[in-house]
Assembly symmetry: C2
Homo-oligomer: 138 residues x 2
DNA sequence: ACAAGTATGCACCTTTTAGTAAGTACTAAG
DNA sequence: CTTAGTACTTACTAAAAGGTGCATACTTGT
């Protein structure tokens, strides 16, 4: 008994088409594309900075290693989100920019960015607690 | 010479506040909160289904194990996105729902979900290629 | 000649994340 | 008494993700 809560919330938040060929929903598909520690940041940086040379990007996305940056850029390129331009010069000169698809994805990231900015204090508190929690843990 | 490209693109995509206390930007903060294979899906399911019992949730988010589901729910709860209600009954009865903060985050996920749905064919193609690439891999 | 900068590749290792399987305390059904 | 169901917990293991550092081929500056 009891069951059948049938108590939909006031704000439905519809948009997620269920049971698709390989993904649970569109959200799932998107998340797999941007999975990777640096991808959203790269996308975001390119959306704001336009075509950027490898070295610049590396200095911009601080804390990223060569291996990681190259790897993520390769995947983004293979996924059709980023365009790599090799000027075939010596010493090497290469730059990266967003494709229209990449740009549209970067735009879809904006609300997440806004949410993070608006709730920054909440989020910061949460993470402080997390780090306090495992204090000295090993 | 050469340097100073100063070549901003036509579509700025502004919204990312740079250099914050612990996060690169709001986007970074958000991504850390929803990091975890099942979190966005849980958030999304709860946004659409309202208060849901543990068992239901587990059956809804297929392929998730007890360990993972519980773990992610605990983190979401600790992060103030999900509310856990324990009815203190025997046998145990517990349900989960979104807090206002969780709901607002679920709403911010909508554009990503839309993007994924709109570009589903591109994304599907990309993943097909990825899997073809490591053909026979193990 | 040597150090530094350019964009990348590769091998190796550590950390993080996820999955499996079992166990707990208790009840209701058979 | 056995089985199933509820909501979890814990220990162990496998796999993925990420990091470090060295190597390349070539140029320019000291």
């Amino acid at each position: 008994m009891s069951s059948t809560p049938s108590k939909p919330i006031s704000t439905p938040v519809q948009a997620c088409t269920p049971t698709l060929p390989g993904f649970t929903c569109g959200l799932d598909a998107t998340l797999r594309v941007i999975a990777g520690k640096w991808k959203p940041l790269i996308l975001y940086f390119l959306a704001q900075g336009g075509p950027t040379r490898y070295g610049e990007l590396r200095r911009a996305v601080r804390d990223v290693s060569d291996k990681m940056l190259i790897q993520q850029l390769k995947e983004l390129e293979a996924d059709g989100l980023v365009k790599r331009t090799d000027y075939k010069e010596i010493p090497p000169r290469v730059d990266y920019s967003l494709t229209p698809l990449g740009l549209s994805l970067a735009e879809a990231l904006v609300p997440l960015c806004t949410w993070g900015t608006e709730n920054l204090d909440e989020v910061t508190r949460v993470f402080a607690r997390r780090e306090a929690g495992n204090g000295g843990g090993r």
